[in-house]
Every structure is written in structure tokens, then in C-alpha cells.
Symmetry: C2
Subunit: 358 residues, 2 copies
């Protein structure tokens, strides 16, 4: 269960929703669709401000079907606003019946699971077409969204300040995480970092990209990878620092400095119009030239999801555009020994980079 | 990113994995399939102990494809064990090539997104069939799993003790959540509760089933719904208490006692062989008879996912069996005024109920 949008700046949100729905209608035209049905919760939220139910956008209608308990509450939310969403009670077959009654011939639907897709397909008279139009829209942020992303980034920074305080020789990883996550909550994060909590991995565990905090003491003369973020009114932030304690070996020190510089250099390379896969290629090449492997992607978009478009990795078909918000996060991992990663959440705006987490 | 199984009781796990894979092979026979491909991370974990990659089970092979960084590490994990899983490096097309080389005619695959399903379908020579065989197996727990679920439940109980301490007049919801989640972490939970953190909703917010903690003070003469859990070696727990402060009104008090009793009565009704939808029907009927609506399901299975089979709600086709672990969580919510929910994680074993979170 998830936050459904309490405390939201309603005017900013409603204005945005109006624009988003209009963009969906442009996509309908372009794809010769009569309607689009969204069921993924974050996409429903993007189109309605509410993270529950199912939403159908046609050229004339925007209908949100929700549980009976929400119908009155949400109808009030949209009343007296310039932008109208019809709130209806969800019951079995209501969406199907509505779609069939409108005689929708070509219905766009999200990339849902195949069994559910087949069921919908059997139930509606028109043709069903899977598409990801909301995900594409979501990659480019509005000023309203940028404001929320900035706040989420501020929360992450406060969490990282706490990390530098508590990551110390003799502290347990688990206790450090408890304190950092509590700080992130106190700073106003609606949820703990990410889905599944922050990452904190000291010593040899830092070589595991996915390592979670363990019940072990942090040692001196080692590095600790700390990956965290916050969430503000639905919007995420993501940052990683590698914290070094005492004196670390020559190779470790060299990799540490190399990755810290590489992260900043890579941010410099980003500009509007560059292919995301090209950015990734540059990072991978530099890491390989240094004699190491690059085991993950260079970055990802950040918004209502912690990972969203653009994907900055090999094989990505995304292009970086102005008003995108994304991470840059190179890393080197030496199995069973140590790992180093630095990551920031970056805003590209008017072709200038703004580092939201520095 | 998620915990991939450090600190695991390797022997217990490996024994279980052997049995699980054998059960998949029985399902292959029953469904006249030549192989089954799992890609959902929790299902991959269930079949291999590792929460990453893709796994293919045929009558003779169990192959796990993972990133290059993991190949050596995981191969060591499975070596010298009775049960063998072949670990291979994942690269583009390797799974497809393997499937085609084995001349697999009927391949079972998980209920993946329709666009990905179509891609796989185009790439393999045999027939593709979506099925959910792992989810079905996962509903019934082994003794090894029950041990981990018990530990996860202990963590939840400690978290709830902390909740009774910190939920007090004048405390902010957000600060209370920060302290409770930190306690849950200190007690050894690998992640914060659930995906997205615990729920804590005081006063009128308690009427919102999904409400997250807000930056507001908890008042006396009101109720606070606290919904939390822990995770231990991948296994979850889930419990809810409604905490009352000061003196609450007559209706509120009556609903409070009604729901607390209803939860315990419902646990009594559960036995092996009963239909999950029937349990839900009884609860719904009692709440309606009292003059209220029941806005959500009665319960859900708990395991590697916080919500899994059996579903205890209307329309569920699941039957309760021995060695299932599930929640029972009736609630009544009066919009804009207050809500009451009580929830425990229950184990049914040898047709006796054990309340893991009391």
C-alpha cells in the first residue's frame, strides 16, 4: 500500500494533470487510438494524482474507477477545479462495459501481464494495443515536479550527512542503517529509501552491488558504500557515496579517486540530444581502459518511481532531453574485496546540469 | 535492489531448493511441459536461493543465468552440495539459444508483461505457455521457511512494542514512524516494513486504509492504526494494532472491540480445506450486519512477498491448507472520522492455528 497523495500542492498538481491528459490525447491521435487505459499505480497517479484504481482517457472523457470508499472523497478533490476527472465506483466489468458502450475500436493499454492482457482482450469488442505512452511522458519533468524532486534530493542529502556521522569504526552496519533511515524519515521522507530500504555495505561486502546491511561491525582502513534516497509527495531521489575510514590500500585509493572523478566527468558529458547508450558507452570504455569491468548501468531516470525512463545503459533507446532528472552512478567492484560507487541525481534544464544531491 | 541471501542457513535452504525443483518437475509432467522459465525475482530466489537472474528448470537441468560478477561466487555456493544448479553468465540471447538447442517444444513461462511475452514467443521455436506454478508452491511453507517466518514475526512484535511506547499524545506521526522503523532494523529486519514503509495513521487519518505518516501531532482521545512487519532472510511478517489514547467515543469504542473480537473469531474459523473466499464472506457478512462496509480483503499469504497466495478475499479461488502462513485483518473505516484494524500473521499446521504475531 502506498501514499495516495495527501498534503499535495493541489493547484500545481491539477494544472499538471490537465497538461498530462492533453498530451495523452495527442498520443491517441498520433497512434490512431480511441482511448488509453492505465492500471499501473504510478501511471494512474501521474494521470489523476491518486495512486489507486484504473483510469481511462478518451478524447472526451477522463474516468477514474476506485473503491466505493474513495468515490465521494475524490469527487470533492476534483470539484471546483478547471480540470475534471469523473470518479466512479469500481465494480467487476464496469471498465469493460464502459469501453464497449463507447464503441471504442482501438484501445491502448499498458504493458500488463500476459494472462490479464488476454482476459481484457477477450472482454472488449475493439482491438487492444499494448503501449507505454505514460512512461515516455513521465521522463520529462514539469516545473512542479522539479520542485518536488528538489525537496526529495534535500532529504537524501540530510540522510547522507547522517551517514558520514554514523559510519565509523566499530559501529554495526545494521545500527548505522537504523539511524540513517530514521533521519530520512524525520526529514520528511514519506517512505524509507527505495523499495526495500537503503544499501550500506562495508569492507568486503562493498564489492556486492546488491549488499544490504548486515549485523557486522564496520572496520577502519576500509570503504563503505552508502546508497540512499528520500521520497517527497511521490517523487524520489537517489545518491551514493563511498565513505573511507582510516588508510586504504593503494589500489583501493586509486579506484576511489578514479570513480569520484569519473562521476563528475560523466555529468559534464551529458547534454540535450545525446543518446543515453552513448553516455553509458563512454563510462564503460573508461572503466575498461582502467583495467576493470563495469557491472551495471550508468544511470536511470528518477521520478514517481525510483527507476524510470531514461535508462542510461547499454541497449537503451532513450535520448537525454531537457527537464529530465536522472542519476549518474559509475562504480567498480572487485569481488570479495571492495567496491566504490558515486551517484548523484542530476537535472538537465536549459541544457545546464544541476546536481540536486551535491 | 534487494537482499540476495547473505547469512542464509545454507543447508536448510539447499535441501528445500532440491524439493522445490522436484515439485516443479512434477508440475512439468502434469502440464506436459518440457521446461519452465522463471524471471520474477522472488520466484528465482525460491528456486535457487539467489534473488537475481533467470532460471530454467527442465527434467534434467536447472540453470541459473546471472551477471558475470556473480558466476564464480554462486558456483561456489552450489558446489559440494547434494543439489546442483548450473550457474552461467547471462548475455543477450543465451536463454533463447539454450531453449532452442534443447529443442524444447512446450515452455512454461511466468505471467510476464505482454510485450516481453511476445518477444520471447517470437524468439523460441517451441510453444510458450504462461503459468503461475511457483506462486502455487510458495503458498505452502516448509519447516525451514516456517522457522524464518517465526523470526520475522518476532521482529514485528518488537516493533509493535516500540509503537505502544512512542504513539502518545503530542508525538508527531513522522517521528513515531522513524523510531519504530529504526527499532525494526535494530531487531534484525533486512529491510524496512513492506515495500514503502510502515503505515501509521492517527485520528481522522486512520479512516484512510492507505494513509502514511504525516507531519502532524497525535491527539489524545483518538485511535492510531499501526501496520508494520519485518523481514528475515527474505521472509516477511505483517501485523496491525489500533492503539487507543484517552477516552474515545461510544461508537468508536464499540467498533474497536467488535473488530478486535472479530479478528480472533475469524482465526478460529480457519481450518484446512476451507475456501478462502468463504472466510472472507463470513467476515464481510458480520461487518455488514453491524451496519458497516468492509473495504478490503480479509487477509493474504505472507512469505518471500508480503502479499502472496492464498488470497483471502472475494473471488479468491484459493483453499486454505496446512503449512500456509497468512494474515487475518478485518477493519472498519468511517470516512473522515476514524478507522480500526487488527491483523496477525497466522500459521496453520496440523490443523492447529498458531498466531505468530501475538
Amino acid at each position: 500500500m502506498d501514499n495516495i497523495g495527501i498534503d499535495v500542492d493541489v493547484d500545481g498538481l491539477i494544472k499538471d494533470i490537465g497538461k498530462r491528459v492533453n498530451k495523452i490525447r495527442v498520443s491517441l491521435e498520433e497512434n490512431r487510438l480511441d482511448a488509453f487505459l492505465a492500471v499501473k499505480l504510478r501511471n494512474v497517479r501521474y494521470l489523476t494524482g491518486k495512486e489507486t484504481g484504473r483510469v481511462l482517457i478518451t478524447r472526451d472523457h477522463a474516468v477514474l474507477w476506485v473503491k466505493d470508499i474513495y468515490v465521494e472523497l475524490y469527487s470533492e478533490f476534483y470539484s471546483d477545479k478547471n480540470y475534471k476527472i469523473e470518479v466512479r465506483e469500481y465494480e467487476k466489468d464496469v471498465v469493460k462495459d464502459f469501453v464497449n458502450r463507447l464503441e471504442i475500436k482501438r484501445l491502448g493499454v499498458e504493458n500488463i501481464a500476459v494472462i490479464e492482457y488476454r482476459k481484457v482482450s477477450e472482454n472488449i469488442k475493439g482491438q487492444l494495443l499494448p503501449c507505454s505512452m505514460v512512461e515516455k511522458l513521465r521522463a520529462v519533468k514539469s516545473e512542479y515536479e522539479i520542485g518536488l524532486l528538489r525537496k526529495a534530493a534535500e532529504i537524501a542529502k540530510k540522510g547522507m550527512e547522517k551517514a558520514y556521522e554514523v559510519v565509523d569504526e566499530g559501529a554495526s552496519e545494521v545500527d548505522a542503517v537504523a539511524e540513517i533511515e530514521a533521519e530520512i524519515r524525520r526529514q520528511g521522507s514519506e517512505t524509507p529509501p527505495f523499495e526495500g530500504g537503503m544499501l550500506l555495505a562495508s569492507g568486503d561486502s562493498s564489492s556486492d552491488i546488491h549488499a544490504f546491511a548486515q549485523n557486522k561491525k564496520i572496520s577502519s582502513d576500509s570503504v563503505t558504500v552508502v546508497d540512499l534516497g528520500g521520497r517527497y509527495q511521490g517523487y524520489h531521489s537517489d545518491m551514493t557515496r563511498t565513505i573511507r575510514l582510516g588508510s586504504i590500500g593503494k589500489e583501493q585509493k586509486e579506484i576511489f579517486e578514479f570513480i569520484e572523478n569519473l562521476e563528475l566527468e560523466t555529468i559534464d558529458e551529458v547534454h540535450a540530444g545525446v543518446k543515453a547508450s552513448e553516455i553509458h558507452g563512454i563510462v564503460e570504455k573508461k572503466i575498461k581502459k582502467k583495467g576493470y569491468q563495469f557491472y551495471h548501468s550508468t544511470g536511470h531516470g528518477v521520478g514517481l518511481n525510483i527507476h524510470e525512463k531514461p535508462s542510461i545503459g547499454s541497449g537503451s533507446e532513450d535520448t537525454i532531453e531537457n527537464n529530465m532528472v536522472f542519476t549518474i552512478e559509475p562504480g567498480i567492484y572487485i569481488p570479495k574485496r571492495f567496491g566504490v560507487r558515486f551517484e548523484d541525481t542530476i537535472l538537465l534544464r536549459k541544457n545546464k546540469k544541476e546536481n540536486l544531491t551535491r
